[in-house]
């Protein structure tokens, strides 16, 4: 093993110059991403920090007067009954979306991918995907007509099947309005999830199914023992994405009920809008925004943790 030559002051100086030159070169190279960092900082991180600063104030948008109120807006969150209604509605949205857009979509994707004819597989994928291609505003209007009391298709069908006693003002009744909105959302998002599960199922090697069949496994057994475990990563991801989406929901509620009747369909997003842009209470709206940020941040961390864990396990 050759000994290192003694470091002379001249050599050390030369190495120092080289290393500082390398640092400078690296710093100089950063100029290529400086613009990207600047844009991300301004459009993503600055609003987050600023939102927190705004949430500690009361602002009058007309006069521009700003009063520092510390954490008062956060205390208001706890005592605001509509916040609890919104949290309940967002959670309901999340739970029902997991049932329909994750588990039911997985089940449907398995059935579609189990079809022998490629042509029929393509047709069914397209059929289920079409609602996802329609804008939320159009879907909202479509379902508004479906839910119309007396003249809507839903009440018409109920009457046709002798279930007229079940008819009600779907969007006007506080006990049914949120479910009516969630149902529309599931109708629209279900096909997209099915397509994602179809892609995941297509990646499973066919040999595994062939071997299982030779061992006498039926379709249900193959689904439980092969398809489900090998799409677990996708299922986990879908649950996290669905929950995050459920806490960011806005358009569906805005188009269908705008949070009514009597705030019974408010979700966090619409309550934020109502406070900021209708009730002129930007500080409190920012506090609601911080709450949404906190919840979705937790979902994001869970997503990162899950993805990393899956990579380690692989």
């Amino acid at each position: 093993m050759a000994a290192n030559p003694p470091l002379t002051s001249k050599g050390a100086a030369a190495r120092g110059t080289r290393s500082s030159g390398a640092v400078l070169r690296r710093l100089w190279a950063l100029r290529w991403i400086a613009i990207a960092i600047g844009i991300v900082g301004w459009f993503v991180y600055y609003p987050i920090v600023n939102n927190f600063l705004v949430s500690r104030t009361n602002q009058d948008i007309f006069t521009g007067e700003v009063t520092n109120v510390g954490l008062d807006n956060y205390r208001r969150l706890a005592s605001d009954p509509v916040i609890w209604t919104a949290l309940k509605n967002n959670s309901l949205y999340a739970v029902l979306s997991i049932i329909f857009q994750v588990f039911a979509a997985f089940w449907l994707a398995a059935i579609i991918e189990g079809l022998k004819s490629e042509r029929w597989r393509s047709i069914w994928r397209a059929v289920y995907f079409i609602p996802s291609a329609i804008s939320t505003t159009v879907t909202g209007l479509l379902f508004y007509f479906i839910y119309q009391p007396n003249i809507g298709i839903l009440d018409g069908l109920l009457t046709e099947f002798g279930l007229a006693h079940l008819s009600r003002v779907w969007l006007g009744d506080p006990t049914t309005a949120i479910y009516a909105i969630i149902a529309m959302s599931q109708w629209q998002g279900f096909g997209y999830s099915t397509l994602l599960f179809s892609v995941a199922i297509q990646k499973i090697p066919q040999e595994l199914y062939d071997a299982a069949r030779m061992d006498g496994a039926g379709p249900f057994r193959q689904l439980i023992s092969i398809t489900l475990p090998l799409t677990r990563e996708m299922t986990g991801m879908m649950i996290i994405v669905t929950v995050t989406g459920a806490f960011q929901v806005f358009n569906e509620v805005m188009v269908m009920t705008a949070g009514g009747p009597n705030n019974s369909t408010q979700v966090l997003g619409t309550w934020l809008y109502e406070q900021g842009f209708t009730q002129n209470d930007m500080g409190y709206a920012a506090a609601v925004g911080s709450l949404i940020f906190g919840i979705t941040m937790l979902c994001g961390v869970a997503q990162l943790w899950y993805t990393r864990r899956r990579r380690v396990l692989a």
């Binding site: 609003p47 006069t63 521009g64 009514g260």
Partner: protein, 437 residues
């Protein structure tokens, strides 16, 4: 599809922060009648004429103005009745309010004055000015704040019960004289197989408009006006609960009841136009929508009357719910003289006549701008009735502080749906008024 709510959060933060830095910069501005007009540049105009029927009016005005002044470009931002509220606040918060912008009277317009966002127009539109003399003085007076004139009224508006004369005649009912008469008429119309009053309260201001008129009948004017100001509001007059009780009677005997919360107001208006309903409570500016050449209900079959007052009510039985609507000039405008010149052009008698006649049917606030020869006779009649009103009760959702207005809107929707009692509605309004102090 989900709109990223974080983007909405960012919008709030950005709007608020811009308001933070720029809001305090607004300074009082007074219109100068002697200022020369520079006919160049772009003029931004925020209107409330965003619906398909009304949109062409300002488009035509802008084209004509641009043709007369080739150096000027008029950029229109056309919103509808609901969206203009959010749009205006977003523009104010981000200091991007257009040169000319729509405003209601009452607290809504007062916000712009309080925030020094609106130019003081007293020297150009006050009672003794040339321009002021061309406009209905009561309408100009509706935009007076602290003794100064801030608004340019464009049209007059009030709420009436539109009805189908053919159905009334078939069923054998007369125009009711009081609330009991209306309820009795509803019973007869319902028995004949028609919906007595079509109502859609999916947009909750619809029920609030009913209540506004009933409050004018049931609550003395002084008590009402004291309650409009959060600093003095108490909302303890017994007339409030009485008015809610009367609305309950109308809802139960004349309408679809709780179902109203699932119906859009346009769908209800359509029921009157299609001859399925006998009545629909509407603004003068909707008369041309209810009955025209393309609707089943023809203009000659259309009539109107005031929502009948309850016998022995403690308020003003000759009060009418309504207010003019108009425009203000932004203090941030780089070319106030041009903005004023544009609005003078909008309010010429010729343009007023176009606005008052079908298909627009918005009775102009310009003197000589409403020509009965070209207008729907019902609109002319509505204007005449409006002139006889002893007090104009402003819209409850724009005259109040936004928090109080929100309480009225949501609580009354619950009341209409049968899930909230009258006392609870008033408790919610009082709580909101307390929070708004």
């Amino acid at each position: 599809m989900r709109l990223p709510t974080l983007s909405l959060t960012a919008a709030v933060a950005l709007a608020a922060s811009l308001g933070w830095t720029g809001g305090a910069a607004a300074e009082t501005a007074i219109a100068d009648p002697a200022a020369p007009v520079q006919y160049s540049g772009t003029l931004k105009v925020l209107t409330k004429f965003g619906t398909q029927r009304l949109q062409p009016y300002f488009v035509g005005i802008a084209k004509a103005y641009e043709a007369a002044h080739p150096g000027v470009t008029v950029e229109l931002i056309q919103e509808d009745d609901d969206s203009v509220k959010g749009k205006t606040k977003t523009l104010v918060a981000s200091n991007a309010i257009p040169d000319v912008f729509f405003s209601w009277t009452g607290t809504w317009g007062g916000n712009f004055v309080r925030g020094k966002r609106a130019v003081d127009l007293t020297p150009v539109i006050g009672p003794d000015t040339d321009w002021g003399k061309t406009l209905a003085s009561a309408a100009v007076g509706s935009f007076v704040y602290n003794g100064k004139y801030y608004g340019i009224p464009l049209y007059l508006d009030a709420k009436f019960m539109g009805y189908n004369k053919t159905i009334f005649s078939k069923v054998g009912v007369e125009v009711p004289k009081d609330l009991d008469g209306l309820l009795a008429a509803c019973d007869k119309i319902k028995a004949a197989g028609y919906t007595p009053i079509a109502i859609g309260n999916k947009e909750p201001w619809v029920a609030v408009h009913y209540l506004g008129q009933l409050l004018a009948y049931d609550v003395p004017k002084d008590a009402l006006e004291k309650d409009f100001d959060p600093a003095t509001a108490t909302y303890d007059d017994p007339g409030y609960v009485a008015a809610l009780g009367q609305f309950r009677q109308i809802a139960d005997r004349c309408t679809v009841g709780a179902d109203m919360n699932g119906i859009a107001y346009q769908a209800a208006l359509q029921d009157l136009s299609d001859g399925k309903a006998a009545m629909y409570y509407q603004e003068i500016i909707e008369f041309d929508n209810s009955a025209n050449g393309s609707t089943k209900l023809k203009p000659e079959e259309f009539g109107f009357f005031r929502l009948p007052a309850p016998a022995g009510a403690k308020g003003d039985p000759n009060a009418l719910e309504g207010a003019p609507e108009g425009y203000m000039i932004s203090t941030a405008s780089a070319n106030v003289p041009l903005a004023l010149d544009f609005m003078k052009f909008v309010t010429t008698p010729e343009n007023g006549k176009v606005l008052s006649a079908p298909p627009y049917g918005q009775p102009s606030a310009v003197i000589g701008g409403a020509d009965p020869a070209t207008m729907n006779p019902a609109v002319v009649g509505g204007l005449e009735d409006l002139a006889k009103a002893s007090y104009l009760m402003q819209w409850l959702d724009t005259v109040n502080h936004p928090k109080v207005a929100a309480a009225w809107l949501s609580s009354l929707q619950a009341f209409a749906g049968g899930t909230m009692a009258a006392d609870d509605v008033m408790a919610a309004v009082r709580t909101a008024a307390q929070a708004a102090k």
